[in-house]
Each structure stands twice: as structure tokens, then as C-alpha cells.
């Protein structure tokens, strides 16, 4: 459903009728403004009326749109065709802004241009017909400016001098007529408003009469010249109004080009924008360039309330405090609650200093933009329309972003669920083994402790202890990994000496580690990296324990660290059998263990390396496994180096 907006008094009834129709048919309503050349020269009263109509349409839940053109009927037909509109509500006067032709004619034209449209006509009867009459009142109500007056006088004077010169040189006086016509066209081009065209046409006739017709230097003349005067006046007038119109159209098409350009640029920028922050900066950039006023933006948080305002200064010396008073904030909240614009220059809460506009998605308000209007006057229709178009586009982009995030969260939740399920399955299988061993061994000791000899008992104690230790490591890793995975872990990043980290890790190794040769190599024992020490210690423990587990007794394990640009590279190398190429990538996956087939033989949930990867990644570093030379595996990870600045 479409309703045409205009300044005609009957328009209000048309809008009302359209709203009723919309309610009845559950259609969406678009309020269309056709900006014709006459649009910019509306009187104050008409402008106010138009604004009131625009607001009324917005209040009734219409989307507003603006198109530009000379022929409202054609524009309406085009817009309806493109936007898939089936019904149009209008008062015939709405189509007469161009004041070319009678209102009926325009409606007929629309009917002819778009025969498939349902036209709902609202009668103009009983309303003063402002359309056609307005043209003349406009023509006379010219804006007087000193500059334009001087220009007019100067051009006419030059024409007169040129004419006199030609006559003195013996050319016919009729040449002067052409010179004046030229002059009037020039004036039309140089000045604003039709007033000057009309006056200059009249003046040129009078001056021609005064200087070039016998009797010279009087306004009396041969009646034979009357026809000449009349034709001259008409030609001058027509020519000048055509020129004025061309000029207007040039301005209009420049506006349109500007509008298209701004919108295109906006959508390009929005396409590139990723994340709410960059969309907000697009809003800031585009609106700032368009309005050159101070802006602020309230994003709507997940709880549905306004967040703290973001400020964007585009004018000098603004006093932000006034924009964030309780009253102003209440206006922003009103916009959020009602999904309509409010504040200065609107019908809602017009006493506020700022104008508030909703940035909408398809269903709800995603942000509220405030524009500081204290410094300067109300926004023009062109600016306002363009602004609304930009905000609509940004609204859609924001909504897309919100939806993308929601989808991401859903995926994340699904992934976590899968992870949890895997974890439970893995745990229930792998916990049973050590628990069986612990309870079984303890049972034997309880029942038959005195029967067994000392060595047997010691072996059982040892086995209980080892299994318990294994469980402790497992629980430690499990806790860390669940915290890492659900993102609740906050890293406590501090600069730490790698030396301290290695020492700490070495003191927590498996008992079995005693049968391997573990060495430390740290060329600079003051080397520091930014890290959450507890987690990195765990990484090193896991890597070394892994090396211990997968290499035969007596193997060598070398732990080393060195600075490499902005990073610290930590290596844990062994000279065991190494990792087959095919396994290298999978190694860091959760629940992956080497020799997966061996079942009960070697235990391990395959959590250790996955945890290492999660921790190192959370630090911004990378972890990888390569082949050690001449044999064995080399696990290495990076951490950001800390800048040491000791001052005493």
C-alpha cells in the first residue's frame, strides 16, 4: 500500500484513509514523497504542513521514501512497479505539485501508466485548491537579495550600452531586442528565483521602449511597436523560466547524484564492515559527513536497554553534558520503546535539544542515534530523507550482524554440547581403569595386607599412588580445558621468567620422568614472556609428560626457549620414535591419542595436547609439532615476549 505525501491539505485525509486500509488488509504502508522542482520553493506554511503529514504517516506506521522527478504521476507509477505496490491512496491534489496540468489529468495519467494499480481517490472537495494557485504566488514571492538585484541591474545596463553602441554604429534598433533577450536569459541563469526573470523581462521591454523607439527617452511609442513589446516580453519570460527550470533540474539531479553516491558509499562500507564496532563507525562517518553536526549513538544491549552512549564529534566545542541529561535520555528511551523518531523537529517531545532517530532492523530498534540540533536549525527534507535511508541501511547491517552472532552462539553451544558428550564418554571409559586399580589394590591390602610380603605390599601401594597421581593430572587438565572451552577463564597475564616456569614445571613431572634424561637450555636466563604462569606451566608439564610417555626409558628430552623477534619460542624435543606425518595435525584434536588402537595398554584421554593448544592460542601464540633431528619429535610453541625495562 502506498500513500503519496504532499503539502495539500487533503493529504492528511489520504494518509488517514491509507492507514485504515492498511489495518484492514494487513499490508505494509509506504509513504512516498515525490520531490518535484517546485518542492524546494514551498512556502513556510506548506513546508510545515508537509512535515506534519510526514510525521503523521510515520506515526501511523508507514515507511517513508522519497523519489525525485518532474512528473509525480510517472514517479508514483515507477515506484509502485519497482516496489511491488498494489494499492495507491491519494488525493488528486497530491499529484499536482508540478502545477502542470489539472489534477484530474495527472490522476488519469497515473491510471494510464499503471493500469494494474488499485487507485483509492480521496476527494479534494471542500478544500481550497492550493496547487495551481500556488505557482503564481510563488513566482511573485521572490527572495530579494542585494547581489541578485545588482546583477540584474548590471546586466540590463550592459545590454543597454551595447544596444546604444550598435545603434550608434548604424545597426537597426531591432538588434537591441535580441541583446535584451540574451540579457534576460543571462539574468535567469545568474539569479535565484523566478521573480528576477519576470522583472527583468518587464524591465527590458520598458528600457527598450525608453531608449530605442521613437520618441526616444520616453515611454511613449508608436502603437506599431505594441506587438513587438508583447512578443518580446513573452519570449523573454518563457526563455527565462525555461532557463530557471533547467537550472533547478541541474541542482536536483546533482542532489540525486549526491544521494545515490552517499547511499552507494554507505552500502559499500557496510559490506566491508565486520562487527558492530565497524558498523557504528560507518554510521558515524556517513552521518557526520552529511550533517556536520555532533552525533551520539545508543546501542541497544542484549537486555533490550540502551547502553552507554558513544559520542562522535563533528562540530566544534560541543557541550556533551546537555545531550546526556535525564530528559534527553528519556527521549532516546521513548524512541526505543515506540520505534519512532522524537526530539527536536519532530512531533514527539519537540522541546528536546537533540533529534533522536531509531536505527531499525526488520522487527525491532537496534540503536538510537541522537543528533545535536542546538547549534543549527532543523534539518532539511533532503538531508533528513538521506539520513533515514542511511540509518535504515545501517539498521539492516546491524541486524545481520546480530543474527550472525546469534548463529555463531548457537553453533558454539552445539559444539560445546558435542564436546561435553565426548568428554563424558571418554571419561566414563578412561576413569574406570585407574579407579578399578585403586579400589582393587586397596581392597587387597585391607583384606590380606598381613599375608603379603613387604615387596608385594609396596608394589600395591605404589600402584595406588601412581593411579591417584594420574587421576590428579587428569582432573587438573579437565578443569582447565572446560574453563578454556566455555570462555569463562580469564587469563591472568603477567610477565614471567621462562626460567621460573621451567623450574616449576620440572618439579611437577610424572614419577616416571626420573628414568629419562631431561635437560634445560636457556641461553638468556632473564628471558621473559607474557603469560598466565599457571597455564603455561601446565603446557610445559603436559609436553614433557607426553615426551616421557611416548619415548623409551633413557631417552633424552631437551626443554629450551629463545627470543625470536616479538615472540619467545619454547621447544620440547625428544629423541624417541617421533610422530608419523599423518598424525601430526590430528595430535592437537581433543580425544586423540597416538596408538589409539591399543585400548587398555596406554592410557590417556587425549586431552593434554588439546589443552596445550587451547592455552597457547588463548595467549595469541601458536603450537606445532615437527620432526626433531636426527630423530624424535619436536613440540614448539610461541608466547609474546615481554619488554624488560629495569630502572633503578
Amino acid at each position: 500500500m502506498l500513500v503519496c505525501l504532499s503539502a495539500a491539505p487533503s493529504n492528511a485525509r489520504a494518509i488517514q484513509a491509507a492507514a485504515w486500509l492498511k489495518e484492514g488488509s494487513h499490508a505494509t504502508l509506504t509513504a512516498l514523497t515525490v520531490e518535484t522542482p517546485a518542492f524546494s520553493s514551498m512556502s513556510e506554511e506548506e513546508r510545515r504542513r508537509y512535515q506534519a503529514h510526514l510525521q503523521m504517516a510515520e506515526t501511523l506506521g508507514a515507511r517513508t521514501a522519497t523519489v525525485y522527478g518532474d512528473d509525480p504521476a510517472l514517479q508514483v507509477a515507477e515506484y509502485a512497479r519497482i516496489s511491488g505496490i498494489t494499492g495507491v491512496v491519494l488525493a488528486p491534489a497530491d499529484l499536482c505539485q508540478s502545477r502542470l496540468g489539472p489534477a484530474r489529468g495527472a490522476v488519469d495519467r497515473l491510471r494510464k501508466l499503471a493500469p494494474e494499480l488499485d487507485l483509492h481517490l480521496i476527494s479534494d472537495r471542500g478544500q481550497p485548491r492550493v496547487g495551481p494557485r500556488r505557482g503564481w504566488s510563488l513566482g511573485l514571492q521572490a527572495r530579494i537579495s542585494l547581489r541578485d538585484t545588482l546583477r540584474t541591474a548590471a546586466v540590463l545596463a550592459v545590454c543597454t550600452l551595447a544596444g546604444l553602441l550598435l545603434v550608434r554604429l548604424g545597426f537597426a534598433a531591432t538588434n537591441a531586442i535580441l541583446i535584451y533577450l540574451l540579457g534576460v536569459l543571462g539574468i535567469a541563469m545568474l539569479t535565484d528565483g523566478r521573480g528576477y526573470s519576470l522583472i527583468s523581462s518587464l524591465l527590458s521591454v520598458l528600457i527598450f521602449n525608453y531608449f530605442f523607439t521613437y520618441p526616444y527617452f520616453t515611454l511613449l511609442s508608436d502603437p506599431g511597436y505594441l506587438a513587438t513589446f508583447a512578443v518580446m516580453f513573452l519570449v523573454a519570460l518563457l526563455g527565462s523560466s525555461l532557463t530557471t527550470r533547467v537550472k533547478r533540474q541541474a541542482v536536483q539531479s546533482a542532489d540525486r547524484a549526491y544521494r545515490t553516491e552517499v547511499l552507494l558509499e554507505t552500502s559499500q562500507k557496510l559490506q566491508k564492515a565486520e562487527g558492530v564496532q565497524s558498523i557504528v563507525s560507518v554510521i558515524d562517518g556517513q552521518l557526520g559527513k552529511l550533517l556536520e553536526r555532533d552525533l551520539f549513538l545508543y546501542l541497544v544491549g542484549e537486555d533490550g536497554a540502551l547502553q552507554a552512549p558513544l559520542r562522535f564529534s563533528h562540530a566544534n566545542g560541543s557541550d556533551w553534558a546537555a545531550c546526556f541529561s535525564d530528559d534527553e535520555r528519556a527521549a532516546a528511551e521513548w524512541v526505543l520503546a515506540h520505534n519512532k523518531s522524537a526530539g527536536a523537529g519532530t512531533g514527539n517531545l519537540p522541546d528536546r535539544a537533540c533529534l533522536y532517530l531509531a536505527v531499525r532492523g526488520t522487527e525491532r530498534v537496534l540503536a538510537v542515534v541522537g543528533i545535536d540540533l542546538r547549534e543549527s536549525a532543523e534539518l532539511g527534507a533532503f538531508e533528513k530523507n538521506l539520513m533515514v535511508a542511511i540509518l535504515d541501511e545501517c539498521g539492516l547491517a546491524l541486524e545481520k550482524e546480530v543474527m550472525r552472532r546469534a548463529k555463531q552462539e548457537l553453533e558454539e553451544t552445539a559444539r560445546q554440547e558435542a564436546l561435553r558428550a565426548n568428554l563424558l564418554r571418554g571419561i566414563s571409559h578412561d576413569l574406570r581403569t585407574p579407579l578399578t586399580s585403586i579400589s582393587g589394590n586397596a581392597g587387597i591390602l585391607l583384606e590380606n595386607g598381613c599375608v603379603l610380603d613387604e615387596n608385594k605390599r609396596r608394589a600395591l601401594y605404589r600402584s595406588i599412588y601412581d593411579d591417584a597421581m594420574w587421576l590428579i593430572h587428569l582432573v587438573e587438565n579437565l578443569l582447565s580445558i572446560t574453563r578454556m572451552e566455555n570462555g569463562s577463564m580469564k587469563l591472568n597475564i603477567q610477565p614471567e621468567l621462562l626460567y621460573d616456569v621451567f623450574q616449576e614445571a620440572l618439579s611437577h613431572l610424572d614419577r616416571n620422568a626420573g628414568r629419562h634424561h631431561i635437560e634445560l637450555e636457556l641461553p638468556d636466563d632473564l628471558l621473559m614472556a607474557d603469560m598466565d604462569a599457571r597455564l603455561i606451566v601446565q603446557v610445559v608439564i603436559n609436553l614433557v609428560n607426553n615426551a616421557v610417555k611416548y619415548t623409551p626409558e633413557g631417552s633424552h628430552i631437551l626443554i629450551s626457549a629463545r627470543a625470536q623477534g616479538d615472540w619467545v619460542l619454547v621447544n620440547v624435543a625428544d629423541d624417541g620414535p617421533g610422530v608419523p606425518d599423518g598424525e601430526k595435525k590430528k595430535l592437537f584434536e581433543m580425544f586423540y591419542t597416538l596408538n589409539n588402537t591399543s585400548g587398555d595398554g596406554r592410557r590417556g584421554l587425549g586431552l593434554g595436547l588439546a589443552l596445550c593448544k587451547a592455552i597457547v592460542t588463548a595467549h595469541g601464540g601458536r603450537i606445532a609439532v615437527t620432526d626433531n633431528q636426527p630423530k624424535g619429535a619436536l613440540f614448539s610453541f610461541t608466547l609474546p615476549v615481554s619488554e624488560v625495562n629495569t630502572h633503578e
Binding site: A468, I472, N492, Q494, P495, E496, L497, Y499, D500, V501, Q503, E504, L520, D525, L526, M528, D532, A533, R534, V537, S642, E643, V644, N645, T646, H647, E648
Partner: protein, 238 residues
Amino acid sequence: MNKPQILVVEDDMAVGNLIATTLETQNYQFHRVKNGAEALLDALSYRPEVMLLDLGLPDMDGIDIIKKIRSWSNMPIIVVSARSEDADKVAALDAGADDYLTKPFSVEELLARLRVALRRVLYDSQKTSDEASTYENGSLKIDYAAGCAYRDGVEIHLTPIEYKLLCLLAKNTGKVLTHNYILNEIWGSQTASDTPSLRVFMATLRKKLEVDPSHPQYIQTHIGVGYRMLRQKQEGES
């Protein structure tokens, strides 16, 4: 001083039994309580030398117990807790605890920490007023008046900040000092820019102090938490 008294505050039966058994094997005298109110009461009535405190008690938070006890007593408090976050450790230590042991702990570790605490008690009880101008710990000696430190009678050359750090650790021997506490005492601030400096100064200080820096005798690092000066065994102590 004969037979030190130890107060064990632990609400979990199994862990309580484990600690009790451990202490029995070492012939320590101890007293077990299961909640905060009893702990405060017994701390007053029994006057134990050392307290082993679980943070998660049924009636009150362990941190509050530490603060209450610190208002009138300087007895070493060793926290034994399942809370393993560094932040929890730091909170307990800043509240005035001397040491922090995370569950699960090994029995040897518990006994070692206990010995450190008892050594401090022993030293404090022997300390007389005229000793305040010097500090002795194993082969380490600090002459506060001269502003010098010695190891085996040989002067250690320290920078002013290293010396200040050493004095701070020495005055709090046996107690884990958190990074923030040290930064506040030495630099008068807790700005992040000083944290790397602290690490470096501690490393250089340790290098000058320790015979074998990879097996420190005096300064213990509690990574992510802080540092501690260990009281060395005195002659005649088993």
C-alpha cells in the same frame, strides 16, 4: 620449646584423617576442629604454634578466620585448600596467611611446609632485642646498620633495590610475599610496568645469593603468586 601444638581446621573427614595420621607419624601434638567458630575458640584457648586451615568451612570463609586471627596473633597459618586459582592464593596470602597448599597435596609437601613454619616459630621465640640490627639465616647474614649482606662471611654486592628486596624477604622469613605486596613495599606502587622489573631483580638477587640457583636454598618462587625466604635449619635441629 617442647612438642609444638598444631591446630588442624578441616571439615572433610578423609582429609582430616590423612593430616592427623601424617602428624601422628611425626609425633606432633595436634588438635582437630571442623568449623570456623571452633577454630577461633581453640586458637584462643589452646594457643597453638601453627594452624593448618581449610578455606571452605561450613560456617564461615577461611579468609575471614585469617583476618580475625591476624588481629591478635602472629602465629603461622598454612592454608590447605582445594581452591587452586592464583587469585585465591593471593587473597589468602594478602589476608595474612603464611603459606598456601593446594589439594591434592603430597604428605611430604605438607610436612615440609610445616617444618618451615615451625622453624619460624622457633626462631621468633629465640630472637632477642639486640639481634634486631643483624639478620642471620644459615650462611646468610645481613648487617642492617652497615647496609651489607654476607654469604659465608663474604660480602655480596647488591644494587640498592636488590638489597631492599633481600631485607623485605628477610623480615618476612617463612612467609610467602605476594607480588603486589612486594611491589607496594619496594616501589610504592603496583603499576604493571614494575612487574617485569621485579622478576628480573629477583632473578639477579637469587643468582648472587644462591650457591646453586636451580635448587634455591633461600628464595623460593611461587609462580603466579610471589616469593618466600626460607629459614635454614639451625645447628642441632633434626
